[in-house]
Symmetry: D2
Subunit: 376 residues, 4 copies
């Protein structure tokens, strides 16, 4: 890398998400075109900064990556500079590696770091900023539940993949007169479930925000049958839960030779429907499918805009902030304000109102106002 040039760092953290490469490309191109800055890409999220593993990102490095899912820099779910897992003997201990981050940051002569990531990455970034390492955050999650921004890139792509899957499930539900449950990601917020349920023509949508009553679900299935609609599609966010109940997390039962696992919420709902109204019910879990693939046009444009804006902030010294979408425009919010917060669906959200008007069941008896049912 050339001497005396201004230089910024870049990393991608947290779960995979369509559009990461589009942000990386936009950052590299904007840094070069608008500021003649170099970009240093760290591998595998904050792990690369901690271990000083990086590459330079020139124009040729980002050529052709716009359309590809994943991240050419790699990512890591676990590399928190404040609690970095290190094996000591047989056990992991969690050590503070922020000083190492600062050291590596300075020895590379960086003026700012752009960190693309979700809640965890923003929290770590807010902490590093306080310690004197200037960071600009770029919000990323397919769940769309990050605070401080109207929408995150990757969500539209995941929504499209989920909707296409529901379209496929639709035809087969109809042919077999079955209840089909499609489970999408979304542990704390139901954006993907509500969005793909609306877009895919789901009949019942269960999301973490509105704890469901199983009888309301069964009533809706029976109502549809009575109208000659001999199938129903239920779209479930993985964090959905029954009224008064807890989230059911899929887990392996350790030390079991058979890898017995506790079924998630969808299997529970399926078992209850079959038990209560004796209608064949099948479950499909979309899972990691939603994280992969080429981003939609919408996400490619959004990711490009976010990458461009992040460089403007970094070059202008406006660090400690996360780029944010507000309506049609981009702005920014303090990292400290968004870290640790989740943006959830409210009873009055336009998508909820639209769902109610077209007669979708959100897991509650007809006539019960959703406001009274909000999960906490």
């Amino acid at each position: 890398m050339a001497k005396n040039k201004r230089r910024i760092g870049l990393l991608t953290g947290g779960g995979d998400c369509p559009g990461l490469n589009a942000v990386i490309r936009a950052v590299a191109k904007t840094a070069k075109n608008d500021y003649d800055m170099e970009v240093v890409g760290f591998y595998d999220g904050y792990e690369g900064l901690i271990l000083n593993r990086y590459t330079s990102l020139n124009d040729s490095d980002v050529s052709g990556i716009l359309t590809r899912g994943g991240t050419i820099l790699g990512t890591s779910n676990r590399a928190d500079p404040f609690k970095y897992p290190v094996l000591q003997g047989d056990e992991y201990v969690y050590l503070d590696r922020t000083s190492q981050c600062l050291l590596n940051f300075e020895s590379l002569g960086l003026s700012a770091l752009i960190a693309i990531g979700g809640d965890g990455t923003m929290a770590a970034s807010a902490g590093l900023q306080e310690k004197g390492l200037p960071v600009v955050g770029v919000p990323k999650t397919i769940d769309n539940d990050l605070a401080g921004t109207d929408v995150t890139f990757g969500f539209d792509s995941a929504l499209q993949t989920a909707t296409e899957a529901i379209d496929k499930i639709h035809t087969t539900a109809q042919s077999h007169h079955r209840v089909m449950i499609v489970e999408v990601m979304g542990r704390y917020a139901g954006w993907l479930a509500l969005g793909s349920g609306l877009a895919g023509g789901g009949d019942i949508i269960l999301i973490p925000e509105f704890p469901y009553e199983i009888d309301a679900i069964c009533d809706q299935v029976k109502l549809r049958n009575s109208l000659g609609k001999t199938f129903s599609i239920i779209v479930v966010g993985e964090g959905a839960k029954p009224k008064g109940g807890e989230m059911v997390v899929r887990r392996r039962i350790e030390n079991s030779p058979d890898a017995i696992r506790l079924g998630g919420i969808s299997y529970q709902v399926a078992a209850q429907i079959e038990g209560l109204i004796n209608i064949e019910t099948r479950v499909t879990i979309l899972g990691h499918l939603l994280r992969g693939g080429s981003p939609t046009a919408y996400d490619r444009i959004l990711a490009t805009r976010l990458g461009v804006e992040a460089v403007h902030l970094a070059a202008g010294g406006e660090t400690g902030r996360m780029v944010a979408v507000k309506g049609n425009d981009l702005s920014s919010v303090p990292l400290s304000e968004v870290a640790g917060k989740t943006r959830r669906i409210t009873a009055g959200h336009p998508w909820v109102k639209a769902a109610e008007s077209i007669g979708l069941c959100l897991g509650l008896p007809t006539g019960v106002p959703l406001e009274k049912s909000l999960s906490t």
Copy 2:
């Protein structure tokens, strides 16, 4: 149809657009669920109202149409109630059929009409409203150039189709070291071209708003070649034009047995590139492909919301207005304010700024401020 029930009319006018059926479905379901109103669907846009051709739209009529392109009601580009073409002898004369519209509207006992359409449909609707026929407009165009609303349904789907096409063209451009021109719709505004150019990684984007200089285009192609990028993608909005020149409309030369036709703007640009810098250049015109197909998840949700909102306005007597998107919310604007206006791209639009930052050529020499080049 039942007597004494409240009843609203519905029609789809103008060019085809993904999401029309999603609006129709949302209108029928909301009218029934929220207001117990009947919906009368007129065939082929305003032609159905003029000729009293219609069908009732019950829940079963709109079942399964959410995912389908096109409109189950049919549409018409030419059926303007104020200038309805009628054959007299060998020639068409254009007659005012608004009285007939009012008559049919009243004899069906309708309380309002929901008209989904573009510029022409909104203009006709504004006129009918003045004559006493209460209309709620729903904006629709793949071109995204309707005034009064941030975005129109159908645009995202057309953008996605155009982007996927550019993705395909990309690989073949690269293998053959060619310039590939991809022409998208957009006679007066470049939203589709700029959006798909950004999303598809186009290298040069020509739109009606910024008249291009052919030398700037050739310079960009040569610059890329000098950097080892032996191909270029040019995305052209069909209304693009050279600086100081006119829009080149494809047309048949009448009375020619060979159906000779004048090539559109893309063929002109291709001929000039081949003539000036001798690089093989091929043209693909996406045309009607962009109007068809299943809508994206984004458009299905937006179309559903617009349909729901239109019924709320119609039921509440807030007619003479078009439903509009403002940021994340829906609102409405007077039909009279939007009719006859086009929303075009400005030099300061965020998409333009992002395109410049990542080094895209918008048809003008580097360093020339776009503000000075705005087409009028």
Copy 3:
């Protein structure tokens, strides 16, 4: 329906499969065009024949269905005329309803029945043929494991869906340095797993025909890591099993309030990899996704040809036979010869040979000839 016209019956049985509607359309059109015959469509497979539930299929009934997944006639997995489940008191008893089938067949004045289905449908059809009800079978299964035919419609579509899913999983495996397991249908034969593994660039493919050794799988993952490929894709057919072991069927543990279920083979393999070589491993089960959606062009053409041919056989009195694909041509085989047989992958199959040449691991140690490992 008109009197004195020749008339044939049609039904779709067994699991859902892309292309069923394309066969129905071809049958209805060919019967009309080539023979001026009427087509009676029975609902829900053999259940419709048993219960005399049917509809006539005219040209307008099959208009627009070519592209749609599912079957407009509905299907049933359980309606076997020889063992039809009837509730007596609290229990199901299984009764022979073949006489009822013959009665209904005759009272409708049918000259032949075309039965589209898989193994179970062909077996029932062979039995009815013996009892004097003339049947022509059309082979259908996404698993491609029907005997007597080179290929079945629906397989190409399922293969394409599985491959696109693996493509998506690929990018996310790479970003996270994980082992990703993708499970596809195929209880007795590995066509879908081997095909999508080849097409999706899987690294390890486990199919029922070749019982795997877990150490060979781990060795391949480690070999890849040593070459700098820090991720691996394992494609698993649901009927895959370890050497000397049994097929692991997912099942609910009855009477459990938590709907605990025993994980299938993929969870078992994942648990073993994580236990043996400590590399994060995630599972995606494609399941019913593979049965739905619009058929591929290949399947639409094949389904159309099969439907046409079935009518020719039915009209020519060549019943008791199943239409079959042999190379590029269609022929037919006796129903009695195909019933109850499964077409499985052999060690010498061209796909297996190609997989070995490009270095894919089929679950066995390098150098071990597959012939010795054939599952029985």
Copy 4:
């Protein structure tokens, strides 16, 4: 590259085609796995061999290319070793460069060359084989018209792209009550047009093999209208021509400042339909879209198999042959037998027979046997 290792050459020639990279990958992997041979990839078809421009193809070079359209080696339509264009003064002269090819081949120590390409590439390869340069051909064309093989890779992908485009056009044809013409590639053979017409539910299909009568086309459109089907889809192979007429090639009129061009056959048919029966008719030309994009699962498997087989032939010294598909198996045919021949559709082909049975119009009056209409 290592000394003393066996080494083969590889190049991709002719028009772009989905699956080229899949063949390249299979060749590189098989050469290494089965024979420990090195692969030298020449750039841009035979041009690379003539100019000695090449790269080595290791496992890492072909990693991740399976799913991508295009060819990482580049291609050239014009680089014929027997007639290589060289600029002398202002003009191109065409020189024999075969001695140079032999020289470069030998100096690189190659034992065989694998040439992936169409008709032109096979002809050049046959010629080089005679001159002592051992070549194995791999057939490639989206047109599927190569002699000696049942099918070529790339065809299924192009067919799928064309069919998806027709699906989109379908909805918009229906909404607007128009005739929509979709033109696909295929100058000498109608495989793509007939295949996508069957798969996309086209109503009229025009291919080079069966010269059409415009009256038969108009009669079919009118017949459909009389049955209430107010739209028609016409799928046209670019080489289609009227009975007694010539192929209409699109061309630029040179030296015209306006780039006037003569419309192709589709514009001619459109003009005639509008003139004769006054129904609005629109044209879409798919063109280069069909050459790009990620290959289908079918094509990826086929391309992989062909690449594997080509290495086996090259390693075994069976040169002068083209790998060929026969039914479900691969075999090979002498290059000299396939060069310069085109595989065309016959009146008795199963696809033609199926099209007739379901009532498609192939451009001729009902009742006229196609055999009498074969184009020569």
